[in-house]
């Protein structure tokens, strides 16, 4: 099945799924209250957004300089920095380290970059045991699913479903108490931390000035992943750069505000190297893998370059009427929602993924909420334009030609209108059936009735 037919099929099912709708409404309703409270605590949220956008602009528009500094500072303190142009190269680098260490088990903290390059599959193929340590990620891993949402991976599940899953996969006693369920996961993972050979993390920010990555989390699982295993690997997209350490003073609270509605996420941790002389714990070796995977192509598109400013807070997903109706899995992509619809065509091919740009009401809620001011809904239009330019549709061109011809000839337009007034009552008889020429619209919607009198007629006849 092609991505577009998969999308249409799943969207149709999910949009009518009232259970799904109820779960998402409750979850996101609570999120909105918390988020708005945090936004209001800022002295001026719009000022903060502008400064964040400008800081990311500086980072992305001088990316070469910042990446060089980031890598040099890391290397100076004993970190091995790897560069991967493609997903395949990144997987090979990680597999190489794993083989070199003769590792048999890996513990991971949440990393969307690892979803992007399908790292778990590659590691499991190589015979490794891979355990996700973030609770939401663990839940979707046990279900053999992709994360539903980039910040809330298991948002689509109820506590009963999670309880059944834990009983089946972890052999736990039945309970639907969220606290007990969390403790089951805590106990199951404790042993894994102590015995894992390798810890794999992502990164929320890469600080160019000091050569550090910054990881944001609530559970403490990334802290443990970066403390206990002997070898640590961090997968970092090249766009994660921030110029200065103190830029985090703005970005950490903004990410928390928009991501989860917190003033600050529980643990925000900067790592600048493996265990240093005199330190008593932490990994002996640290590998940072810098991932391009088509990001430089997006960088080359100056019009949409600001999509690389994204800090993956998920705020645009949460406000998007399309996301809220069709759900995260329907997109069939690593990054869903408006930001996913904008960047996926760049990461995985415009013609195969152009339909995501049309799955939008262009309401602009995403652009308005984005903490770094990415012009999301205009980029959806840019993608539509580029897709039409790249591969024009004969039928679409013909339709517009006919429309233009009729619209520029008053008599023809008038005749058409008169015919339509006759035709519409007939159309109503076959509405939504195979005989209906407007079927794809009228299947789920009404065609508004044509006015009895056109504006022109009314104007002429008014007293």
């Amino acid at each position: 099945m092609t991505p577009v037919s998969q999308f249409l099929k799943d969207a149709r099912v999910m949009a009518a799924d009232l259970r799904h709708r109820k779960i998402i409404r409750t979850a996101l309703g609570n999120y909105e209250i918390a988020r708005d409270k945090r936004k209001a605590s800022f002295q001026d949220w719009q000022g903060a957004r502008q400064l964040a956008a400008e800081t990311k602009w500086e980072a992305v528009n001088h990316l070469d300089k910042h990446l060089e500094s980031f890598a040099a500072k890391l290397e100076a303190r004993g970190t091995k920095v790897h560069w991967a142009s493609t997903a395949e190269q990144a997987r090979e680098i990680v597999l190489g380290i794993v083989k070199d260490k003769k590792a048999s088990s890996v513990i991971k903290s949440k990393a969307m970059t690892s979803e992007e390059i399908h790292l778990n599959d590659a590691l499991e193929h190589a015979g490794l045991k891979v355990v996700e340590s973030d609770l939401g990620e663990l839940i979707v891993q046990l279900r053999n699913e992709a994360p539903y949402h980039i910040v809330f991976p298991s948002m689509h599940l109820t506590r009963d479903e999670i309880s059944e899953l834990f009983q089946r996969e972890l052999g736990s006693a039945p309970t639907n108490d969220p606290e007990e369920l969390t403790m089951i996961a805590r106990r199951a993972l404790r042993k894994k931390y102590l015995t894992a050979d390798i810890g794999i993390t992502g990164a929320n920010f890469a600080i160019a000035e000091t050569g550090m990555i910054s990881i944001t989390e609530n559970e403490g699982n990334a802290r443990l992943t970066a403390a206990l295993p002997k070898t640590m690997i961090s997968l970092v997209g090249i766009e994660k750069v921030l110029p200065k350490l103190e830029d985090l003073a703005l970005f950490l609270p903004m990410l928390a505000t928009m991501g989860t509605g917190q003033a600050l996420t529980c643990y925000n941790t900067m790592y600048g190297g493996p265990r240093q002389p005199g330190e008593t714990d932490g990994p002996q070796e640290w590998h940072v893998v810098l991932l391009d995977n088509h990001r430089t192509e997006l960088l080359a598109d100056a019009e949409q370059r600001d999509a690389l400013h994204c800090i993956r807070c998920g705020a645009c997903l949460n406000v998007c009427p399309i996301f809220r109706n069709v759900g995260g899995h329907t997109y069939g992509t690593t990054y869903s929602g408006p930001i996913g619809s904008v960047i996926t065509p760049h990461l995985r091919g415009l013609q195969d993924w152009k339909h995501l740009s049309s799955a939008s009401s262009l309401c602009g809620a995403c652009t308005e909420t984005c903490p770094v001011k990415i012009d999301l809904h205009h980029h959806l239009l840019h993608n539509r334009r580029n897709a039409a330019k790249g591969k024009p549709s004969f039928f679409e061109k013909l339709t517009y030609k006919i429309f233009a011809m009729a619209a520029s000839r008053p008599t023809l337009w008038k005749t058409g209108l008169a015919l339509a007034r006759i035709g519409q009552p007939i159309q109503r008889l076959v509405k939504g059936t195979a005989l209906d020429p407007a079927k794809s619209w009228t299947k789920t919607r009404d065609l508004p009735p044509l006015a009895k009198e056109s504006f022109k007629d009314w104007w002429r006849n008014r007293k």
Binding site: F42, Q43, Q50, W83, L135, L250, Y267, E279, A300, A302
Partner: protein, 224 residues
């Protein structure tokens, strides 16, 4: 050509064309540089007392146990009552001015994480007692590094993290905290710097708050 050179080459080529700064309606290709985070971040009071009160409010909201005390003696008493209330059998700590002065009063076997230690033994401890670099009024945060707080694991592996801190370690806001890190460590940064804001938590099951996901279920901040 290495992958590094290839990637940097593609970046440089892409950046030949400049992009507009967001929020300037296409009129600017350079940021204004007119503001700093402090212009926009949540306000903190001017005086130390206001900031201490703000820290206490934030800590309460985060479900952290913040105790404002008047002397080292009171801190010892507070730690002892935590020991008895939580029924600690073993604790872990590191050497430091405050920890050395306060922890022996516990009269418990103490694991030291600032020398070579056994992770399993740390996992078996009921509490990890550490110092910190600063506490931050704006967000109710404890700032630790692996140098100031006994390594990477002490503050996150045991189920109860206890922070011993002096009032003069309070800073107003996040920009001040980052400034402190820069001034204190200059170019010799510890390999881990962590901003701890409340006890470990998750909302991954129906977005319901649960404390103690993987890190400590309890965070006590004893301050005099």
């Amino acid at each position: 050509m290495t992958e590094r050179e290839k990637i940097l080459g593609r970046v440089r080529e892409a950046l030949q064309v400049s992009a507009h700064v967001p929020g300037t309606h296409g009129h600017s290709t350079a940021p204004s540089g007119a503001s700093t985070p402090r212009h926009w971040l949540p306000k903190v009071g001017e005086s130390i007392d206001e900031q201490l009160a703000l820290f206490a409010r934030n800590a309460a909201e985060l479900k952290a146990d913040f105790q404002l005390l008047n002397s080292a003696e009171e801190m010892r008493t507070a730690l002892l009552s935590l020991r008895d209330k939580e029924n600690w059998k073993r604790a872990a700590t590191h050497s430091g001015q405050l920890t050395d002065a306060i922890c022996p009063t516990l009269n418990l076997p103490l694991l030291r994480t600032d020398r070579t230690y056994d992770v399993e033994a740390l996992e078996g401890c009921d509490a990890g007692i550490s110092e910190c670099d600063a506490i931050i009024a704006q967000t109710g945060t404890v700032l630790v590094t692996n140098r100031s707080a006994g390594g990477r694991a002490l503050s996150v592996l045991p189920p109860h993290h206890v922070v011993l801190v002096r009032r003069n370690q309070l800073v107003a806001d996040l920009p001040a905290a980052f400034m402190l890190v820069k001034e204190k460590y200059a170019d010799k940064y510890p390999s881990m710097i962590s901003f701890i804001t409340g006890p470990s938590r998750t909302g991954d099951i129906e977005r319901i708050l649960v404390l103690g996901a993987h890190g400590p279920k309890k965070l006590s901040i004893l301050c005099f």
